[in-house]
Amino acid sequence: MMVNIKPKSGAHIGAKASVSHIMWQVMLALMPATIFGLWLFGWPAINLFIITVLSAIFFEAVCIWLQGRAVKPVIMDGSAILTAWLLAMTLPPWAPWWVGVVGSALAIILGKQVYGGLGQNLFNPAMLARVALLISFPIELTTWANVSPLFFSNSPGLIESWHITFSGIDNLDAMTGATTLGYIKTEFSQNHLLSESLKDYSGLLNFIGWARGSLCETSVVLLAAGGVWLVRQGIIQWHIPASLLLTVTVLASIFHLIDDQHYVSPMLHLSSGGLILAAFFIATDYVTSPNTPTGQIVFGAGCGFLIFVIRTWGAYPEGAAFAVLLMNSATPLIDYYIRPRIYGRDRQGKPLEITKS
């Protein structure tokens, strides 16, 4: 007679999925855009990326160690690496080393562990860190390196890249410039119209990602491909990306049609800044987004609306991080009010009326 001492109920078998599997799938989806971004901005970007990820692992390990828990399994779940990965993708590519370290500390310690670790945080850790950095260090966070792909003549070499990462960019004006959205904002402040400021703008280059911007959020094509693949893999649902992108497109189209000299076209909205990254990878963060399809549509639309508002009328040229954080704070409310209908009950939770024919 064999004795099994652990009586257990239901679902003795299970789907072959795990938290770390999900995290690695997301990282796999980010891979093309990441590799492109690292290539586009060269060695200083690679330094920053590695520093950010390693320091996130370090801070996560310290927090877990302080809690007296086993460190290795927590690191292996991949959540800290993914957070740092997403944060690094949104940083200026040639930012100094301490931006990555401070960013990771903010994301892991303030953004995640003080809430109780994985699954407990109210705000997206990567976006929380990014916004905190942007407000605290506005200069470093808005210094955008020129496109300087690896193996091209203008790309800094290994030694030079260490210099950039650890003591700053020497020849600032020659090597940096403004992002498209930032440039438009500045031009508006000097009362220039769009047709004037967008003389040199190439939609195609922006679409591929050949433009100044954050480390890995410039390539619309690669990010969207990764995002669509994630939807197809069933890792994320389509509701948030679709409603977010649709909201931005509709709002941008309406205003662009009304006044095309003051409101940029929907295509430009879609192909610049962190919109695609936010739509597929940031706003869809499980922990900080609603858990019903309807709730996710509301959440996505809210993010899209706020992004458009901040970009168009706000003080900052880009608003994805702010928008996501603001909607994160609305998630508990959305989940409270938008609930699925229980079988045999109406939306208010009362039993259905008998409908015998």
């Binding site: 064999m2 009586p7 239901g10 229980i342 079988y343």
Partner: protein, 505 residues
């Protein structure tokens, strides 16, 4: 395109890996050696346990009534083989707790001799009430796992004059294929059972629903049903829990059973195909329910099969027959792997509800390495009842059971989809079963304290009343005494006056 906009008829659910091919290709094995001893629980159904009418030492024949049903919702128990009654006592139940329940122990004599029964020539001449009576007397209960007495359901169907009888051939649980084989091999008998049920409920439409992963069963049943236009055989999508009665009702009829109602109240009754088969046996052959087809499967089973066994056979005997490697067995499960119960050992009997006995290896089991919830909402997506398991579990963890009840704890059907899909391996169903039990326990405790309080209040008021009565009596007594004294005094006064008058005179 129009169908895209109409309300979806299937909600939630998972595509669970089937593993049915382990047993679904081979015929039902009917050479199971008769066990020496059978352990027959008195409660193998929903409702009150049956009451034994035999004595220890009695000689019984196969199919003889051992215990009669008591109460409205109950079911009798019959002898699965001929032999001598060894004992009527408490033995471990086929339940995760293995706590003892009352069982009849039968020592078989090897003759397997049937009790004589009268066979009905044309059951369609019987009154519908008679059909119900015979089904009830044969001890037939819902064999899909619900074990609700079938006769009661037939009566309810007749009283509510239902429009449609759904025959559940979904068999959506992975590993199990006993219904599949039964439909392939005994389709005519099942269809006959369905016709008898229709007659018993005075209804004239039946739909047999079979998941589309069982094409052979579907063709067999379709062929068997061809002569009877009242019976329609349809294929339904393969998606666990398609066999949940309410999911199937919604898929077939488009109607939803309101919470707290029986399906017959909206004009639908649902029975399992094995139940229909048992009805055929009971009415046509006069056989009560004494055996059933059980799927024995799992990674640790060297000879997985569907086998017909007498009820009350110990799992250890079944495992011996199927050559189960106990060293490899990580968990023994009665029923399917989604909703079945893990059993602590093999010394437990099979019962009417036993559709399968599984011996699963460690690699087949869901990992028990629980990770933090990442709110991925997979559990919300797959829940067929429209619940939010993630929030319910969070509240239960914080001991906020009332909040969990508000979120719909009582609407949980324990189908196991949430536990199945959870990437963090959180045993959600375990949470819900614990909480449901705890809520009932708390309600009972509260009820008890309320009763105690009521009794105390009653006693206090009674004592008060008695005290008041005594006081009143005392007052009356004092008043009466005063009155008596007054009268006495008056009389004395009168007498004194009379004396005085006399003296005056």
């Amino acid at each position: 395109m129009l169908s895209f906009f109409t309300k979806s008829r299937i909600r939630g659910g998972v595509h669970a890996e089937g593993y049915k091919e382990l047993t679904s290709a081979d015929k039902i094995v009917s050479t199971f050696p008769l066990p020496k001893t059978l352990y027959i629980p008195l409660q193998q159904h929903v409702g009150k346990p049956a009451e034994p009418l035999i004595r220890v030492g009695d000689k019984v024949l196969k199919g003889q009534l051992l215990a009669y049903s008591q109460g409205l919702i109950s079911s009798p128990v019959h002898a699965p083989s001929s032999g001598i009654i060894l004992d009527v006592n408490d033995y471990p139940a086929p339940h995760p707790s293995a706590l003892p329940i009352r069982m009849i122990v039968l020592e078989t004599d090897g003759k397997d001799e049937w009790v004589k029964s009268k066979i009905v020539v044309d059951p369609f001449q019987l009154t519908p009430e008679d059909i119900s009576l015979r089904v009830g007397a044969a001890g037939i209960v819902g064999l899909g796992g619900a074990t609700f007495p079938t006769a009661v359901k037939l009566n309810m169907g007749r009283e509510n004059s239902i429009d449609i009888l759904i025959i559940n051939g979904a068999e959506c649980e992975p590993y199990l294929s006993c219904d599949d084989r039964l439909m392939q091999e005994r389709a005519d008998q099942i269809i006959d059972g369905v016709r008898l049920m229709l007659h018993g409920m005075e209804s004239d439409r039946a739909v047999v629903a079979i998941e589309d992963n069982k094409p052979q069963a579907f063709y067999a049943m379709q062929t068997a049903a061809r002569p009877y236009p009242l019976i329609e055989v349809i294929q339904i999508p393969t998606r666990y829990p398609m066999g949940w009665d309410r999911q199937l009702i919604r898929y077939v009829t488009g109607k939803e059973v309101p919470v707290g109602c029986r399906s017959s109240e909206i004009g639908v009754t649902i029975h399992n195909i094995s139940t229909a088969h048992a009805v055929h046996n009971a009415i046509r052959k006069g056989y009560p329910l004494v055996s059933r087809v059980v799927t024995v499967s799992g990674g640790a089973v060297r000879r997985p099969m569907n086998v017909e066994i007498p009820l009350g056979t110990l799992i250890s005997e079944v495992f011996k027959f199927c050559d189960v490697d106990l060293a490899q067995t990580a968990r023994i499960i009665m029923g399917g792997p989604m909703m079945g119960d893990a059993l602590p050992h093999t010394g437990l009997p099979t019962v009417k509800a036993t559709s399968g006995v599984l011996a699963l290896t460690e690699s087949e089991l869901k990992s028990t390495d629980v990770q933090p919830c990442i709110r991925c909402a997979s559990c919300v997506t797959v829940c067929p009842a429209g619940l939010r398991p993630v929030d319910m579990a969070n509240n239960i963890r914080m001991n906020q059971l009332d909040a969990a009840v508000d979120l719909g704890l009582k609407d949980c059907i324990s189908c196991g989809c949430c536990s199945y899909i959870c990437p963090s391996n959180i045993p959600l169903v375990q949470y819900f079963k614990y909480a449901s039990g705890e809520v009932v326990a708390r309600q009972q405790a509260q009820h008890k304290s309320e009763q105690t309080k009521r009794l105390m209040d009653d006693r206090n008021s009674r004592m008060e009343r008695i005290a008041r009565q005594q006081e009143e009596e005392e007052r009356i007594r004092i008043a009466a005494k005063a009155e008596r004294e007054r009268i006495k005094a008056e009389q004395a006064a009168a007498a004194a006056e009379a004396v005085a008058q006399e003296t005056l005179v």
